[in-house]
Symmetry: C2
Subunit: 210 residues, 2 copies
DNA sequence: ATAAAAATGTTGTAAAAGCAACAAGAAAAC
DNA sequence: GTTTTCTTGTTGCTTTTACAACATTTTTAT
């Protein structure tokens, strides 16, 4: 549904042509990166999924963003003020390519076509990210938990062209993502079921409306 | 406070070097552009301010984004499905430069250094936009109207390095921006005043805390 | 200068959401 | 295979927010 250009080819190009990138694998639960002031790291998720997390002074967790395959993230894309505030946690075993944003200014060697490819492909990754952010804003702008849930479910359904889909998040995480109280959300899911808007079987949801 | 590169020079470069861009002026209240499916227009606000607006089926207005000088917008940055859903309205007299995103693929003529400049500067504009979107998400993620207001006010205060600042939006628009009911927001502003968190004189707010 | 429109400010009441606590089921760890 | 941890599901109660209505002030239009 997102950008359709050949990202996989691009990724393999990145790895073969430039010695200024680094690829690492992470196990579920490992910290992929912590956002640092004055660093301009760029990360692209090649495999797996991960969360950008923040814990506030009260210890409340916020899922700032959830990343899936091909997501781009790093300090470059987030205004940070203090260290250790934001970090990215692998939700599944993941593979990530890292490089510094400075790569755009300082070419690594003559005739390295890495930069050309990067300049050509990066915009697509970034535009895709902007679309995600806009959707998240649309979600969070909804006034009620019910509307948030319907929007989120509809989007999931549209993404796979199917009325039924499996939730990619636990319900606990979904509440954090929609920025609502979990128990209140559960209550709302119950009324959505009662009202015949959705059907729910475990973490499989079916939309019963258009 | 945002990106510090020389945007003004870049803008004048854009206008002088490439015949594929167009610059137009708009009076307050005029529609700058309507988002169209299958178009990939890019707009940069050179002067003034504008709102990206949506009216839902109930007629409720949402300020999707508010643009100030140097903001970048257009279909490229928003996933749209239907025409006439989203449009950009000038809040003040404004000046906007338009070009098509295809400009990145199809160079206009040999030795036109427009493209080089565009490729160099556009990322800064876009990263600045991403920062704005992230801040908006942070705001909307707050669970209470009180927290949303405090975050918004703090940000305004930090931006100009001054405890006192003039609201850039009307209170009515601020409510739409924070996605809360206006009267409920007004009530919360009252309690913020009572609790000695802020001082308010017309549309000038002073933070009384850190 | 006057009328019209928009924004601000306030309040009562109904609806929604948050908080807290707990039981039951599922998944992960040992 | 058993224990421990995490997730789901539910409910009573409190706080917050939305809705609606209206008065007042400010801004805009003519």
């Amino acid at each position: 549904m997102k950008s359709n250009f050949n990202l996989d080819k691009f990724i393999s190009d990145l790895q073969s042509f430039c010695n200024k990138t680094q690829t690492k694998s992470f196990e579920k639960g490992e910290i992929i990166t912590t956002y640092l002031v004055n660093r301009r790291q760029v990360c692209i998720l090649l495999e797996g999924s991960a969360d950008l997390l923040r814990y506030d002074f009260n210890g409340n967790k916020t899922i700032v963003e959830r990343f899936y395959r091909h997501a781009i993230f790093g300090e470059v894309f987030y205004q940070i003020n203090t260290n250790n505030d934001l970090f990215v946690l692998a939700k599944e075993n993941s593979k990530v390519i890292f490089f510094n944003y400075d790569i755009f200014d300082k070419k690594c060697k003559k005739n390295c076509d890495f930069h050309e490819k990067l300049l050509i492909n990066l915009p697509n990754l970034i535009l895709s990210k902007i679309e995600d952010l806009n959707f998240r804003i649309e979600l969070l702008s909804k006034r009620t938990t019910r509307e948030k849930l319907i929007s989120y479910f509809s989007k999931q359904s549209e993404n796979i062209f199917n009325k039924s889909f499996v939730l990619p998040l636990t319900l606990t995480d979904l509440a954090d993502y929609l920025s609502v109280d979990r128990s209140a959300m559960m209550r709302e899911i119950s009324t959505l079921k009662e009202d015949g808007i959705i059907k729910k079987d475990g973490n499989k949801i079916t939309m019963l409306i258009d």
